[in-house]
């Protein structure tokens, strides 16, 4: 009982610190540096403490300090309540969806079963979709309550885009669920112990569709018309400054991490190293005794998981800096006329194959 409690607290603290404390600031740095290296330049690396600039890793701290000291204004005539609450509605789903993503398997440590996921829900993946839909409210409220034509246009586009891609995203996942036969992310992860049972081999089309829908849901380029910098100044968060602006930004980055986590879990073997099973890991670490072996195996798996997540973060950042952005009606056409039919065909074909 106490052990369960400690375990939960430990996991929550770990995920929070990794997400908010590590990934959110680091992703800002990664975005700047990666885009810079892709574009033949050095990124931001001037912020220093005491003369030491470690390749610009102090920039997130500088950003945080700058943002906290900015004036927080609400435009005249704007709806104060919604204007204030919209960033929170956007941020909370981005953090909370990571609760069901498993970052490691089951281990036996000190006689206690440790399951490396914060909440092993039976509905698994549906929880993620449910929360992602809530983020739509945040965007629409931000756009509408700012009392500015530009924000309104941004919020309008965002609402249509996010709703459509929710639907499509749900359908693309059905293939994977059929193949693995469960909604629980931990079971899907555990079922990928064999390298050739990884989701990417069983559902390649589903992977591409899901990644597209998830990037669209996250409003990143090429789907970033709600916040299109060149058309709408800054879209739905034009009238925000200071901490609230950063909350929108953080929500976007954290959702990148969440999407990478889900893609890794569903399609790329979750926490498994290719061709290495848990039993092999435990026997590899025999020298440390059963508990030590379990802890070491746990660390290896967690590291693998986060390595894969990092790769997908890199991929999403690369896509952002490569492609131009779509036009609003092209995004809608892409969703309803291309992704939806293909995902339905995917479901049929998968169903046939599973049946036979």
């Amino acid at each position: 009982m106490l052990a369960d409690f400690i375990e939960s607290i430990a996991k929550i603290v770990f995920i929070f610190s990794i997400n908010l404390g590590f990934f959110a600031p680091i992703l800002g740095w990664v975005e700047r540096k990666q885009s810079a290296v892709m574009q033949d330049r050095i990124g931001a690396n001037r912020a220093d403490i005491g003369g030491f600039t470690i390749m610009g890793l102090f920039h997130p701290i500088a950003d945080a300090v700058k943002v906290l000291t900015k004036e927080d204004f609400i435009p005249a005539g704007a709806n104060k309540f919604f204007h204030t609450i919209a960033p929170f509605i956007c941020l909370v789903p981005a953090i909370a969806t990571f609760a069901v993503v498993p970052f490691g398997g089951r281990y036996e440590i000190f006689g206690h079963q440790v399951n490396l996921v914060i909440a092993d829900l039976d509905v698994g993946i549906l929880y993620v979709f449910a929360l992602a839909s809530l983020a739509t409210y945040g965007v629409v409220l931000a756009g509408w309550s700012s009392r500015s034509n530009w924000s309104l246009l941004g919020g309008l586009r965002a609402s249509a885009q996010m709703l459509s891609y929710e639907v499509a995203m749900g359908l693309t996942i059905i293939g994977i669920i059929m193949v693995y036969g469960s909604l629980k992310l931990t079971e899907i992860g555990a079922a990928q112990a064999n390298f050739f049972r990884w989701g990417i081999f069983l559902q390649p089309v589903g992977f591409i569709l899901f990644l597209t829908c998830a990037i669209a849901e996250n409003k990143r380029v090429p789907f970033d018309i709600p916040e299109a910098e060149s058309e709408l100044v800054a879209g739905y968060f034009t009238e925000y400054s200071g901490l609230k602006f950063v909350m929108f930004w953080m929500a976007e980055f954290l959702e990148i991490v969440t999407i990478s986590g889900i893609v890794t879990t569903l399609f790329f073997g979750a926490w498994h190293l290719p061709f290495v099973t848990d039993a092999m890991l435990l026997s590899f670490f025999q020298f440390a005794g059963p508990n030590g072996a379990a802890i070491l195996a746990m660390l290896v798996n967690v590291a693998t998981f986060f390595a894969k997540v990092s790769f997908f973060i890199w991929l999403q950042m690369s896509i952002r800096w490569t492609l131009p952005r779509f036009r609003y009606d092209q995004i809608m056409r892409l969703c309803w006329k291309m992704i939806l039919p293909i995902s339905l065909i995917n479901i049929f074909v998968t169903g046939l194959v599973v049946l036979l």
Partner: protein, 207 residues
Amino acid sequence: MNTMTDRNPTPSFPNVGVPLEKLKPKRVRRRIELTLWEKLYVFEVLRGLYVTSRHFAANMIGFVVPPKGKKRSVFTVYYPEERVTLPPAYRGRPVLVARQDGSEKCVACGLCEKMCPAHAISIVPAERADGDRYPSSYILDMSRCVYCGYCEEVCPKEAIVMSAEYEGLAETDRGNMLYPKEKLLRSEESVKGRIQYIKRIYSKCNY
């Protein structure tokens, strides 16, 4: 593989009065019929990712193993620790040339004042006891100067040259932007390179 143009111009151009063989029109290939693979965005994304990843990899390797002659393979010059090497033709801020004894070579002829397109120079001429003209007051308004180089070009005495200085020109007070003679003077050695350059480009052999 030239995706841009297609070498069979259809002969139906509007007549603009120039014969076709002199005009040499070349149709751009706008009917890029995308193959099915290209219509699926995936392959385009992959091709774009290939281009940018190639730059990414080249630059990352270039940070560790820089190409010969340069410090790193990215294009950036890391100012202010590194400076760009300026060509000899570079026009920085104007300076007055001082002789050995510290006085200016300028004879206050007023050509630079008349030529300046921004009317930045004001000269008050005066004469010394032995008849030499000199500017008793020479004020160059740096907030008006556009660094065009006309003053250097028309000066008959090579008394004002465009040095290679481009830093330290910002002031917080507009009054400080009126540079008097003392602030403009530089010794002849320090601008020797520039004087040799202008002697060369404006000398007889180039005309």
